[in-house]
């Protein structure tokens, strides 16, 4: 027993003091280890510890050079040319070449399950340091794949890559114990500034176990769900980070009786109540977002007005004062809705303003959201029945009913997917079957743009261009965005996690964009 205790304590060394080693428990992060074919890179910032990518995001979510020292996009937006930086080395010391980049993208394009590269026609390594992507259609949001796909070493990649991964990031894998932990050490050939820690240990602990480990003093960074954010642990501080991880309601924009597809299945489309713009607008301005944040997220979140709040392509004109019960009632009245039988719910042409809101019952957050929304809507005179189901159920009935929807990425492509009429009946895009010619025009212009500035301008106009748009007080509101989740971590006092960008969806990896800059402050 005595030896056991001593061994346990030495094992936890590094945690608790300002050492050069960190122990990190940010949720059960197991799965897909290090290999993009197994899904590595499909979560924001997942690749940052041991890989690098052609582009990366900075603290303002601008796309900047990473492995590429420069890049350009042709006039017709179809040819993207990259120069690979000349000081990039694999953790083995060998140089990273354009052939490695081409190899990685060819591999993933051929696989076709993990990353959508269907718009890439050809990948050409011109010489050792230049690589060219020829696209079959303009796609300004290609920057997202370029900043998420980890570059693999052509000479060392094979079926066993997971157990011996070689990357070109700030750290390299010292030991990987499947299902338990990953131990990282600095990559001596990393092209950036020398990292401040000699060892990072990632524990694969589920949320409660991570919290228990933090309480026992054996970790330096632990994820905390909002419900446990009040926990006080000596020596640790709660750090809260803004995210674009948003939740809202999709509202069918077509009347009942239509048909369409979700993920290839034929489904019923349309709802007679939500297809009335007055109902959608009344909900948009009538629901009280601050109140929802308080109830659903215990205050650890902020209101959302679009899918992209706070990002460089967010149109600030879409923010408005909400929780306006009287104004919402007035909109309904102007739309022909009135409460004639005095039951508190408005009617039009003899039909009550009632519809069903579907939520996945295994998702606590969305369940709570559905119930709070139903409660608030009743005050506006709209009766929402919240109904728990499975995702399979949602993909069957989700186009004829409202759904608690979510999203939030560091790229604008989700805007195109959720709001363009071109995406109707593909995947689970455009659930409300929304179409607006003006919005379509802006979205297509955004995709065809050759510079990020130009693209961002179009994305903003699609949200609200002064006359119409899918967001804002007077917008069409096919999706009423309500809240953004804050990511909460208990962090060892004095640990500086760098200048974090607004974090993306998924609290497990979102923290690691700045991993190379982590240090002790003061």
């Amino acid at each position: 027993m005595a030896t056991g205790c001593a061994a346990g304590n030495s094992g936890a060394a590094g945690a608790g003091a300002r050492g050069t080693e960190l122990v990190i428990a940010v949720g059960d992060i197991a799965g897909g280890e290090f290999d993009p074919l197994k899904g590595w890179g499909s979560r924001p910032a997942q690749i940052r510890p041991i890989h690098s990518s052609l582009l990366a995001i900075d603290s303002k979510v601008n796309f900047v050079d990473d492995l590429a020292s420069k890049y350009s996009v042709s006039e017709d937006a179809l040819v993207w040319s990259f120069t690979v930086r000349d000081n990039a080395r694999w953790s083995t010391g060998e140089p990273v070449t354009a052939q490695d980049v081409a190899f990685t993208y060819e591999l993933l394009k051929k696989d076709g399950t993990r990353f959508d590269l269907s718009f890439v026609d050809k990948i050409v390594a011109v010489d050792d340091s230049h690589v060219e992507f020829r696209l079959s259609e303009p796609r300004s949001t290609f920057v997202s794949e370029l900043s998420e796909i980890p570059i693999l070493p052509k000479a060392h990649y094979g079926p066993d890559y997971s157990s011996d991964p070689i990357g070109s990031g700030p750290y390299r894998v010292k030991d990987f114990q499947d299902g338990q932990q990953v131990i990282l050490e600095p990559n001596p050939y990393w092209y950036g500034d020398t990292v401040k820690f000699t060892k990072l240990t990632f524990l694969f602990l589920a949320e409660d176990a991570a919290l228990a480990a933090a309480k026992s003093g054996s970790v330096d960074i632990a994820y905390v769900p909002p419900a446990f954010a009040d926990q006080k642990i000596p020596g640790m501080t709660l750090q809260s980070f803004e995210t674009v991880d948003s939740r809202g309601l999709t509202l069918p924009t077509l009347p009942a009786g239509n048909s369409g597809k979700i993920r290839g299945n034929d489904v019923k489309v349309g709802n007679d109540v939500t297809s009335d713009p007055a109902v959608r607008r009344a909900l948009n301005i009538g629901l009280d977002r601050e109140g929802i944040v308080e109830l659903v997220l215990q205050g650890h979140g902020r209101p959302a007005y679009t899918l992209v709040d706070g990002l460089p392509w967010f149109n600030e004109e879409t923010v408005f004062e909400d929780g306006r019960t009287d104004d919402a009632k007035q909109i309904l009245e102007k739309g022909g809705w009135a409460d004639s039988d005095g039951d508190g719910i408005v009617e039009k042409d003899g039909a009550k303003a009632q519809f069903t809101l579907l939520y996945p019952s295994d998702d606590q957050l969305r369940s709570d959201l559905a119930l709070v929304v139903a409660d608030q809507a009743r005050k506006l005179g709209i009766e929402i029945t919240a109904k728990g189901t499975t995702w399979d159920g949602i993909y069957l009935d989700g186009k004829a009913n409202a759904v608690t929807w979510g999203g939030g990425r560091h790229h604008a492509h989700q805007l195109f997917g959720m709001y363009s009429s071109k995406t109707i009946d593909t995947g689970y895009n455009n659930m409300p079957q929304y179409s607006n010619a003006a919005v379509d025009k802006h979205l297509s212009a955004g995709l065809a743009a050759t510079t990020p500035e130009e693209a961002n301008k179009s994305w903003k106009l699609a949200q609200w261009d002064g006359k119409s748009g899918f967001a804002g007080e007077n917008g069409d509101a096919p999706i009423v965005w309500l809240v953004r989740i804050d990511h909460l971590y208990l962090v060892r006092d004095g640990l500086d996690l760098g200048d974090q960008p607004i974090q993306g969806h998924g609290h497990e990896w979102a923290l690691f964009n700045t991993i190379a800059d982590w240090k002790w402050s003061g």
């Binding site: 899904g39 030991d175 299902g179 602990l205 228990a212 026992s216 996945p360």
Partner: protein, 337 residues
């Protein structure tokens, strides 16, 4: 006389062949039944494997979806899917885990020993401890020791494994800090540098949880059996001859009370497996149990079927061993075999 003896030996061999054949057939039908049932359950579960695989909020294009369905083998009818799996299985190929993208045999092999060690230790400890407690309770029936042991057993048998695990975790790992919170080795130490003592240290809490839960059942059954034995005519007679305590236990109690204990303990394999799933989850212990949960939730059919087969073989073996050991201990059972 001579002829009679050899004849009985022959029927003995034939009987053995017959009983072995029956057992092999039973085992085969068990595996077929269990795999069909597991397959049907997964197919009808609300978990969409592709959905589970890519995550709820990740959108994929229709092309990606089609490729995933193809990769998962979800194109064919359920019967085609099952027979494809069964055919490969008969050739010794358990298939490739869709979650881990590695051969099922490799995934199971990696985790099998962690679980076997956990269950093995829990099994031996709970058996020995439970039997001893049962004997003590029976010998002191109605007195304080009996009441303590009985009370303890009732409390434990109504305690869910995961709850006891959480209590241990909070008390010994978080509050007292004697044991680590989870995993099978210390933080930040490469696998090949982990010492045996460290492994033991991480192993202690999950093993203790499983062992303690297993004690109750065996203790109570042994207590009842031993009470019967102690009230039997031969024990009354032995007592009349002056046998007491230890010698009474050795000469009459042990053999007569151990049979139900052994049978129970081997039949307990099934519950042990279930318990280890929960204990492994609470203590983040990387064994078969947590992998079973992951494969079921992730719709990983090959891996799930693989684990289900291994565990049914495990439970079947438990029952078989119980029969054989009973036969070895008790001549009456041997004659029936």
């Amino acid at each position: 006389m001579e002829r009679l003896k050899s004849r009985s030996a022959r029927t003995g061999t034939a009987g053995l062949v017959r009983s072995v054949t029956i057992r092999v057939l039973r085992f085969a039908t068990l595996l077929i039944g269990v795999s069909v049932l597991a397959f049907a359950l997964v197919l009808n579960s609300p978990v969409d494997p592709i959905q589970a695989y890519i995550g709820a909020d990740v959108n994929v294009t229709d092309e990606q979806l089609a490729r995933l369905r193809e990769y998962w083998g979800l194109d064919g009818s359920p019967i085609e899917q099952y027979s494809a799996w069964a055919r490969a299985m008969l050739e010794g190929d358990l298939g490739v885990s869709t979650l881990y993208k590695a051969p099922v045999s490799a995934v199971i092999g990696e985790r099998f020993w962690a679980s076997v060690a956990l269950m093995g230790v829990a099994w031996v400890l709970s058996g020995v401890l439970g039997y001893c407690l049962g004997v003590i309770a029976a010998f002191h029936r109605g007195r304080l020791a009996d009441r303590i042991i009985t009370g303890y057993s009732y409390v434990l048998s109504s305690t869910p494994t995961f709850w006891l695990g959480i209590i241990f975790l909070v008390a010994f790992a978080v509050r007292l800090g004697w044991f680590p919170v989870g995993l099978a080795g210390p933080h930040g130490v490469p696998a090949d540098e982990v010492t045996f003592a460290q492994r033991l240290h991480h192993f202690a809490l999950p093993a203790a949880t499983l062992s303690l839960i297993g004690v109750a059942n065996i203790a109570m059954h042994t207590r009842e059996r031993m009470t019967d034995v102690l009230h039997s005519d031969y024990v009354v007679f032995a007592r009349a001859r002056g046998e007491r305590g230890g010698s009474l236990f050795r000469n009459h109690g042990l053999r007569n009370s151990i049979v139900p204990a052994v049978t129970l303990q081997f039949a307990y394999f099934a519950e042990l497996f279930g318990g280890s799933v929960l204990a492994e989850t609470v203590f983040s212990y990387p064994g078969l149990g947590s992998t079973l949960t992951a494969s079921a939730l992730g719709g990983d059919v090959p891996l799930l079927l693989g684990i289900v087969l291994i565990s049914s073989a495990f439970v079947f073996a438990g029952n078989l061993i119980a029969d054989l050991i009973n036969a070895a201990i008790d001549p009456r059972v041997r004659n029936r075999l």
